[in-house]
């Protein structure tokens, strides 16, 4: 198998077009199943009541926000090392979805925190580093938005993402340390004591759905980006014609 073959924009554009519906439908289906499990299969938690159902969104969103960042960093490293333009486009296509999940993790966390802790927000390590991750996402997208020249944007964004990737773990541990040093555990991010298997299953299903959704959305976005960058080539012109007819 020749990787370069798949890294060629024209090939990838076509492949991405073929895959997208599968991922999209998969995401829809799994979301349906996940929602069914979250609301109709999973039992009421004896400690937190019904509020715990937020977990079925909160945890997948939190996972995705972190994972997407890592994937972006991976693509950027590849792009800078091998000068493959497609990799930068992947990073660009992923960022908005990452930011969305990051925001959703914060939002659902806040809505969960109010009934459980009595506060919308506490300066806990997880929460704080999640907030900083959101800042990073916004910063990266703001940087891209501010640069018109696509090549320059690609590289500048990639450098920032990599610096962030080195920094995020440091930030996480520093915040964690700061928090444990300062205050006694007046508030704890307690896990539901015995996570019933069905809850775990529900969370996993939702997480996979989020994955499929991310891939589908990113593929659509990357197709747009490819088309924009390659519009002078013959194949892109044909693709545009095909799109117009559709």
């Amino acid at each position: 198998m020749n990787l370069y073959h798949y890294a060629a924009p024209a090939t990838f554009y076509r492949l991405a077009g073929r895959w997208t519906p599968w991922f999209a439908w998969g995401a829809g289906l799994l979301t349906g199943i996940g929602l069914y499990i979250s609301f109709f299969v999973a039992p009421t938690d004896f400690q937190q009541g019904e509020a715990y159902r937020i977990i079925f969104i909160h945890v997948p969103a939190a996972w995705m926000s972190m994972f997407i960042y890592l994937v972006m960093a991976f693509w950027c490293a590849i792009g800078l090392a091998f000068n493959t333009r497609l990799s930068f486009l992947m990073a660009r296509a992923l960022a908005p979805t990452g930011a969305l999940f990051c925001f959703l993790a914060l939002w659902t966390g806040a809505l969960w925190g109010k009934p459980m802790w009595g506060a919308w927000w506490v300066w806990d390590a997880r929460l704080t580093s999640q907030l900083i991750l959101l800042f990073l996402y916004v910063g990266i997208m703001a940087l891209w938005a501010a640069i018109d020249d696509p090549k320059r944007g690609d590289r500048a964004g990639a450098l920032l993402i990599l610096v962030g990737a080195v920094n995020v773990p440091i930030i996480y541990f520093s915040v964690k340390w700061w928090n444990t040093l300062h205050q006694g555990s007046s508030i704890n991010l307690t896990k539901a004591p015995s996570m019933a298997t069905i809850m775990l299953v529900g969370m996993l299903v939702m997480a996979i759905a989020a994955w499929l959704y991310t891939i589908a959305v990113a593929l659509v976005r990357v197709r747009g980006l490819i088309l924009e960058r390659e519009r002078h080539t013959d194949w892109a012109q044909e693709a545009m014609k095909a799109l117009k007819e559709a």
Binding site: F39, F40, P43, I54, T108, P115, E228, M240, L243
Partner: protein
């Protein structure tokens, strides 16, 4: 079945605001992203065509 009635389902044991706030905003966020994506695709296509026509001149 966990729920006895529709009202019970919507009230979520008193936590309706929080639970539906979470799921609702998540739904909204995803819908917004999909909508923006579609609109972006369409406007991209228009833009590319405009530029093409311009370059052809």
């Amino acid at each position: 079945m966990v729920w006895q009635s529709g009202t019970e389902f919507w009230s979520m044991g008193g936590y309706g605001l929080y639970v539906w706030g979470s799921f609702g905003v998540t739904g909204l966020g995803v819908a917004l992203e999909v909508w923006l994506l579609r609109r972006g695709q369409r406007s991209l296509l228009n833009r590319l065509q405009r530029m093409q026509r311009w370059e052809a001149q």
